[in-house]
Amino acid sequence: MLENIVGKRYAVALANSISDDAGLSKALEGLGSFCETFRTEPKLKNFFAHPSIPQENKAGMVDELCDRFQVEKTVRNLVQLLTERKKILFLDPIREYFEKVVDARLGRARAGVTSASELSSEQTGKLRESLGRIYKKDILLETQVDESLIGGMVLQIEGLVLDGSIKNRLALLKQAIEKEEVV
């Protein structure tokens, strides 16, 4: 709950401080790099969360990371502010909410597609085009492969999940057999 509130507040502030669309995309990319680093390096989280490590050291680390990722000034300022206010660990929800804000401002929607095998460019194109037509937005399609689905695919878009995988159909069939009344 608190994460959502903090995430929303800082994400909106960051979005408001960037006027051009390209800047928004770059800022999102920069935040994504930070989050990815925090995910892959758990020690980094401990470093920022540790109360006995001086604030200057944490600020120095932020500067170093910003230089490495070559992030925008606005993102650098935001991360420094979060470090000062000891809210750096809320970076994930901030990025998630910022992504939504950016997508809304740029008129685009993200769709996640999980399939049992790699989708062809023809299939992704058709999906992107159809979804864009239905939602009237540019669609950012994120695909991933999960062989356990056996066949078909699962689509996630704007909080909606449509599961057309064979795995799901088999699960439904299993439920139907289990619920079948025997006289």
């Binding site: 299939q123 159809s130 239905i134 056996i150 066949g151 695919m153 069939l173 299993k174 439920q175």
Partner: protein, 171 residues
């Protein structure tokens, strides 16, 4: 008659005889009869008292008999009442015991039926679950073998169509 012809001879004798008789009678009446009469009266009184006493005893005995009969009757009635009460109580106890036993038997039957039904349902559920798992596992294995690249593409194409139709329906 010759006897009466000699009355004059014996007149003085007769006279003295009469006088003696009267005197004797007087003396007897004066001294002998009263105690005898008294004894007789006393005897008569005693006999009468005895008779009265006997009658009274008889009456008392009758009364006692009547009382005894009445008490006996009451005792009989009480005994009958007690027997009836005991009989009723025993009957009630027997009926209650019978009802209790019948109730317990009914409850046991009901519980047994529930248990049988629950076991049946559990067994059927396990059979269904096992059948479902077996069916799905077999189907999954067959499908995995059957899903070549071409089939994968066909299924994904179909799914894309279904998803798009569903989204258009919702839009």
């Amino acid at each position: 008659m010759p006897q009466f012809e000699q009355v004059s001879v014996f007149s003085s004798l007769i006279f003295w005889s009469v006088i003696s008789f009267v005197a004797l009678l007087f003396l007897l009446k004066k001294f002998a009869f009263p105690p005898i009469l008294e004894i007789l009266d006393a005897r008569e009184k005693k006999i009468r008292d005895d008779i009265e006493g006997a009658e009274k005893i008889n009456q008392d005995a009758e009364k006692l008999k009547a009382d005894f009969d009445r008490q006996l009757k009451t005792a009989h009635e009480k005994a009958n009442d007690i027997i009836q009460l005991a009989h009723d109580s025993s009957k009630k106890e027997t009926e209650k015991s019978l009802q209790d036993t019948q109730g317990k038997v009914r409850q046991m039957i009901k519980e047994a039926e529930h248990e049988i039904q629950a076991s049946r349902n559990k067994l059927l559920s396990e059979i269904r679950s096992y059948t479902a798992a077996l069916t799905i596992a077999s189907t999954e294995r067959i499908l995995k073998k059957a899903m070549d690249e071409k089939e994968q593409k066909r299924v994904v194409d179909e799914t894309i169509e279904e998803v798009i139709q569903e989204l258009e329906k919702r839009a």
